[in-house]
C-alpha cells in the first residue's frame, strides 16, 4: 500500500496546509488504486494486448466483415433514433416534473428511474411481449401496418426504454436552478411562450440536453439484454453489435470477438471522455458567473 505518512513529504508551494488534516489518504488511495487496477485496468489491458497481437490485416478483415459492418450500422442508427426520442421525451418529463404541481407527481418522478432498476432481460421479454403481434401494443400497431417486434424498430424501442432516465436526470437540475428573472421579463414584455422558450430557455438547456442525449447514446450502443429479445436477430438486418460479439464467441472465434469488442470499447471510452470534457466545460460556464 502507499505510504500513509504524508507529513514527512515536503509540501509543494501553493497547496493549502489543510490538505492533509483528514486521515486516511494513504489507505483510501491504496485501496482505490488496487481495486481499480485489478477490476478495471487489468482486464481492459488484457483485451488491448490480445487485439494488438492479432496483426492489422486480420483485425481489419474481421472488423470489415459485411455482417459486422451491417450490425455496426444498425446499432448506431437505432441508438441515434433512441437518443433523439429520449431528448424530446426527457425534456418534456423534466419540464413537467420541475414546473408543475399535480397529484401523482412523486409517483411519476419515481417511475422515471424504472429502466435503471429493472434488469435488462426483464425489460427485453416484457417489451417483446407487448409489441409482438398478439401483444397489447403489437395488435393495435399491426392495424396501421406497423411492425415493431423482430424488426429494427424493436431495437429502437428497447434502447429508448433502457436509457430513458439519462436526459430526464441531466435536464431536471438545470431547469430547477434556472433563475426566473429573464424569463419573467420577457413574458411581461409580451413575448410568446414559444419565443421565450426558444430565445431564453433553450440556450441554457441545450448543453444538458446534449449531455443526456450523449449518455443515452453511449448506453444504447452497448445495450444487449433488452435488445436481443425484441430484435429478431436476423443477420444483416437486426443484429446489434454486442450480439455480434456474442455470436463470434459462440463460434469460439475469440480473435474476432475481441477485435469487434475493442472497436466497441474504444468508441465507448472516447464517448465517455468527450461527454466528461463537454460537461466540465459547460458546468464551468454555467457556474463561472458566480466569481
Amino acid at each position: 500500500m502507499a505510504d500513509t505518512d504524508q507529513s514527512v513529504r515536503p509540501r509543494r508551494a501553493g497547496v493549502p496546509v489543510s490538505r492533509r488534516v483528514l486521515p486516511g489518504f494513504g489507505l483510501s488511495l491504496g485501496v482505490t488504486l488496487f481495486f481499480i487496477s485489478l477490476v478495471l485496468l487489468l482486464p481492459i489491458s488484457g483485451l488491448v494486448i490480445h487485439t494488438a497481437g492479432m496483426g492489422w490485416e486480420q483485425f481489419w478483415f474481421v472488423v470489415t466483415d459485411p455482417r459486422v459492418v451491417a450490425s455496426f450500422k444498425v446499432t448506431v442508427l437505432a441508438a441515434l433514433a433512441a437518443s433523439l426520442f429520449n431528448c424530446v421525451f426527457g425534456l418534456l418529463m423534466a419540464w413537467v416534473l420541475v414546473r408543475y404541481e399535480f397529484p401523482g407527481k412523486r409517483l411519476l418522478d419515481a417511475i422515471m428511474d424504472l429502466p435503471f432498476a429493472l434488469p435488462t432481460a426483464v425489460a427485453g421479454i416484457t417489451l417483446a411481449t407487448l409489441f409482438s403481434e398478439n401483444g397489447w401494443y403489437g395488435r393495435v400497431l399491426a392495424e396501421f401496418g406497423i411492425e415493431v417486434a423482430y424488426t429494427p424498430l424493436g431495437i429502437v424501442v428497447a434502447m429508448a426504454f433502457t436509457s430513458v432516465p439519462f436526459v430526464v436526470r441531466t435536464v431536471q437540475p438545470v431547469l430547477e436552478e434556472l433563475p426566473p428573472e429573464d424569463e419573467e421579463a420577457a413574458v411581461s414584455l409580451g413575448a410568446s411562450d414559444w419565443t421565450v422558450f426558444r430565445r431564453i430557455l433553450f440556450p441554457v438547456l441545450w448543453p444538458a440536453l446534449v449531455t443526456g442525449g450523449g449518455l443515452s447514446f453511449a448506453r444504447s450502443l452497448g445495450e444487449y439484454g433488452a435488445v436481443v429479445f425484441i430484435a429478431g436477430n436476423s443477420p444483416y438486418v437486426s443484429e446489434v453489435i454486442s450480439l455480434m460479439i456474442f455470436v463470434r464467441l459462440e463460434e469460439y472465434d475469440f480473435a474476432a470477438a475481441s477485435a469487434i469488442a475493442s472497436v466497441v470499447m474504444g468508441v465507448s471510452l472516447l464517448l465517455l471522455l468527450a461527454i466528461n470534457v463537454w460537461q466540465g466545460r459547460y458546468l464551468k460556464r454555467l457556474h463561472g458567473g458566480r466569481g
Binding site: 483528514l22 483510501s28 418534456l92 432498476a117
Partner: protein, 278 residues
Amino acid sequence: MSAKHHRVGDGPVIRRILIGLAVVLTALFLFMPLVVIFTQALAQGWAGYIGNILDEYTLHAIGLTLFVALLTVPLNTVFGVFLAWLVTRFSFPGRRLLATLIDIPFAVSPVVAGLLYLLLYGSNGWAGQWLGQYDVELMFAWPGIVMVTVFVTCPFVARELIPLMQQQGRDEEEAAVVLGASGWQLFRRVTLPNIRWALLYGVILTNARAVGEFGAVSVVSGSIRGETNTLPLHVELLYQDYNIVGAFTAASLLAGIALITLAVKTIVEWRQSRSEEF
C-alpha cells in the same frame, strides 16, 4: 393568453396539455411493462405462481443470485466509500482522472465486460492458464459471475456519495480531527450520519444491478441449469423454452426488487429534502 401567468408554460391550456402528455406517455412506456410482467406471471393464478417459484431450478437460480449479490454488494460498498473519501476529501494530481476511470463500467457494453474477463481468466488467457496449473477455474462457474458483477456494479456507491460529500465539504470532519477523533471514530460519528441515506441508496442500487446483470454474466456463466444459472439467465432460458408464465414469474421477482429500489430512492430523496428545509 391571460395576463396572470408570469413564466413560460404557466398558461392553463399548455399546462394541461403538457401534464397530460407526460402522464399518458409514461403510463404507456414505463408503467404498462410493469403491468404486463405481473399479469403474465399470475396468468395461472396464485397457485401456479407459487408453484413456478418453487420449481427446483428457479429456486436454485434465486439462491445463486442472492449469493452473488451477497459477495458483490459489500465489496463494492467498501470500495465506493474509500473512493468517495479519497476524491472528495483530498486534492492530488490525477483526482479527476480517477473519477472518470470509475465511470468506465457505465460506458462499456456488458457483453464487452464479460469478454474482458473471459479473455483474461478463461482457459486461453494468461491468468487463466496460470490458475489452471493449480486446477482453479474461475470462468463458467460462480467466481466468474461474481467477478463480472463486481465490474459492472462498482461505480454505483461512489457515484451516489461523491456529489453529496463534495457539497457537504470537510469542515465538520476537520473539526472532529482537531478535537482528537481517530479515523474510525471520525467516519462512524461524523461522516456516516451525514451520508447514510445516499449510502443506503447506493447500496440498494448496486444490489438491484447485481441481481439483474444479464449481458456480462451470460458471457462468463455457461448457463448450466441448476449450477451457473442466475435469475436473469433463468428468465431467458424459460422464455426460450416457451414457458412464458415461468419466465415472467422469475421476472416478477426481479421487478419486485426494482420497485423496492425505486421506493427506497423516493424515501431517501424525501428525507434529504426535508433535512435541507430545517
